[in-house]
Symmetry: C2
Subunit: 541 residues, 2 copies
Amino acid sequence: MTWNTTNLDELPVYEKLAKLARNPFDLTAPGAISPERIKTYKSSGSGFDLLFSTQRIDDAVINGLQQLADQSGALDQFHAMKGGAVMNRIDGHESEERQVLHTACRDIFNETPCHVVATGQAMQELEKLKAFLAGLDKGQLVNEQGEAYTDYVNIGIGGSDLGPRAIYFALAAYSLKNRRVHFISNVDPDDAAAVLRKLDLSRTLVGVVSKSGSTLETLTNEEIVRAAFVGAGLNPAKHFIAITGQSSPMDNPEKYLQSFYMYDYIGGRYSATSMVGAVMLGFGLGYDAFIEVLRGANDMDMAAEERDIRRNPALLLALLGIWNHNFLGHETVAVLPYSQALLRFPAHLQQCDMESNGKSVTRNGEKVSGFTGPIVWGEPGTNGQHAFYQLLHQGTTVVPTEFIGFRQSQLGSDLLLKGTTSQEKLVANLLAQSLALATGRKDDNPNRFFGGNRPSSILLSDKLTPYTMGGLLALYEAKIVFQGFIWNINSFDQEGVQLGKVLANRFLEHLNILRQAGGKDSEQYPESWAMLEAAGIFKEE
Amino acid sequence: MTWNTTNLDELPVYEKLAKLARNPFDLTAPGAISPERIKTYKSSGSGFDLLFSTQRIDDAVINGLQQLADQSGALDQFHAMKGGAVMNRIDGHESEERQVLHTACRDIFNETPCHVVATGQAMQELEKLKAFLAGLDKGQLVNEQGEAYTDYVNIGIGGSDLGPRAIYFALAAYSLKNRRVHFISNVDPDDAAAVLRKLDLSRTLVGVVSKSGSTLETLTNEEIVRAAFVGAGLNPAKHFIAITGQSSPMDNPEKYLQSFYMYDYIGGRYSATSMVGAVMLGFGLGYDAFIEVLRGANDMDMAAEERDIRRNPALLLALLGIWNHNFLGHETVAVLPYSQALLRFPAHLQQCDMESNGKSVTRNGEKVSGFTGPIVWGEPGTNGQHAFYQLLHQGTTVVPTEFIGFRQSQLGSDLLLKGTTSQEKLVANLLAQSLALATGRKDDNPNRFFGGNRPSSILLSDKLTPYTMGGLLALYEAKIVFQGFIWNINSFDQEGVQLGKVLANRFLEHLNILRQAGGKDSEQYPESWAMLEAAGIFKEE
């Protein structure tokens, strides 16, 4: 199977957009953001509305962006990806050569899934999970004393931590009674120690998540936690669950209560809807809630195949990002959820987006000529308004912003104060920030002058539920892969993390030598020995 | 009192540095990062070492940066600030016209403090706090049932939340037994609801933090929490503490158990060592631990007055930031602590740095000609290595990086695995990343090629304790004000947050009208009405 691998700047529409970008729409002109514009600059799909009247675009740019989507073949590639094309590759060079099938995990609601084998494997694991969770619910699966498990520790890092953790925090309002979830990720020993000291291990399950079964941090933390179980007189094999690749070193019934499988066609950062997220979320929120996450994600996966960008918020968000990044030259994008529950969602996106698209080589193995993935960062509003928004409004760097909001709160407990509820105050602030960034304000006092023309979008849904969380996750996954397709890069590998691993192992060998020989005994790699010395890790006599 | 208000590009050394920046030191050249360089490119002060051999600088640049420090009068200004100069001002325009005296809060160890009145006020509040905490410890201050208070809820936003929260998380390993602290900040009603549902209110104290006593989010959350106390049959006046300005609307003994005062010469984002942090940290960690935070901060405040940049890590960090931002053109800076306990420290810095230096007007009221504050972001390592480091190594945007590390763990519980401890693995990864970013690696496979020349610094101390946390906080505060002095901007106001507030109030008025009249009844501000409609907050018939 082949697909479009034309570079962005070689697409016919590129010059047109570059020309339009020389004189972008002025959001500060009187009446520029008209009621008509506000109501019509809107893209809706699968329960989400994307409001984009506060972007520096006009109808000509919108048409250009639609052409960009069409000419890049982004949708065909998305469809090919869902169908099992080997898209994790670099032509002419050694690369991972894998399919990209995270969408198959949630393609379980259709009679004819896009990829029958992968969805079949997903359903098989879901059945295992359903039985496992039913055992917990019915009191068949209990600890040595016959008590129910109340706590679950997720040991994983990167994609085995960030996405699942973001979703758990987002949906903690829907937790099952007497079920708590904790996370250990960092090799910093204080991370595990801080979690362990607040747990009753006898009532705790531990999910260890590593596809290869060989991730340094995860194995190290697993050993620390196993030692704590042994120290408490408990048998880890009765408490530990493996979430790993079939026949990995961790797929071992002697060491684990049960194994749940993940497959090499799902990258870590796209794995939250596989067993990586499923087991932990199933424990904390229940099986049905997790299925709702999948339903929301699947509905968005389908909406993302819509050609018209006014009906495809994921695609439009991708295109607006490219407009701001490649054509208007802004290096970063802030994702600002007006929902405290989404506080770790930006950290998930930092991985999903920056690890996917922080690349310098095209899928043809050539150096890319323009910008690829932006720097993604953000914190929840309104908190951020009292933190870094000063720079967003009056700094010397323009930061395109993606606001995320909901019309209703999760818990529904609210208070009318000065004529409005807290939820209304929250949404009012979101809308106000978008408008303020766009329009700016003239003032004779130069320190109170706002230049405006700072672009933003607003992504809105009714309420943060398992279903909409699934949709939001899938929307951003789709945004990211669309951008990768348009930049003609491989969004599915991560060769850039290898060099650090190699050098870390060299430092660890040095430390091993120091421990065994009591001092430096090699002249190889003088610079890493010097770093250890300069850092005060050892003193050369 | 007057001080240097020359713009950066008008300082004599500017052209020299600009010229040097055209051909910056090549970190990828064979032998460029020599053992000699690694050991000598180091600045040490107050228990912290700053290693900077992996910056794109040579001796000529270092000399230039020392000249930049000297010519800008950064140290004189720092000294003037500590002495009570009215540095929060814009010449010739209406501005806050305030002193900047956060350092006075910790200048309590010297016989002759820099500013006698402010330090006297700080000591008075500390005495009040000491007595208050002793009452808790000795069982004199108890709840209605005679039980000890076990939980404390901090209600505040921005500086009344981020800095104190970051410090509490950083030092949670040193918590007093049976004392837990919780935070409510966001106007999102789910934030308060999620905290409230896990508390036994009868044993909970609530600290409400607002200098003006009028912060929308904080007052709203206070009302929600008060209502919960009343609903539980408890009298809020026995549980609530005010941390506020003297004679603010919150300074009211009928509504609060006690008031602790903050003063207008301390900006919110610099207030963590005032009563804003003190009351909460004193409850959670004890009075003595908080005094250690102050001692560490004060020692760093003194070290920051050292002229020689090789003995002043705060000043050098500021200068390296300006080198990377203004001379090499990098828009962001990543702060990456290799310590899970520092997980919220970058969020504090986002406020402290971006709200201070995200400005476009000089202290003379002119538009600045170059870049001011960068975008600050980051997450703990090694977690980040499995997330966004792909972009740091191979992305199309260069991100200067500030690593933070410690030689020992906090809790000391560690495990030797494959010849090294977890703490050693953590530090080895930190050093390896710095080296990898700098040197890069050649490879015939273009996708495995690392361009290198990505600058970083490493800030190291022995262990994250109350003392070093105070030092780290003060180091970054000093870094930020040094940069502001060199950019010739006012780092102490935040006019950029005003427009959003005005527009948010307009939206809230609209919502109020909708609630009372049941529909839109005004044609004023058609664009904000249109936004409410487009957002689906109401449908016009």
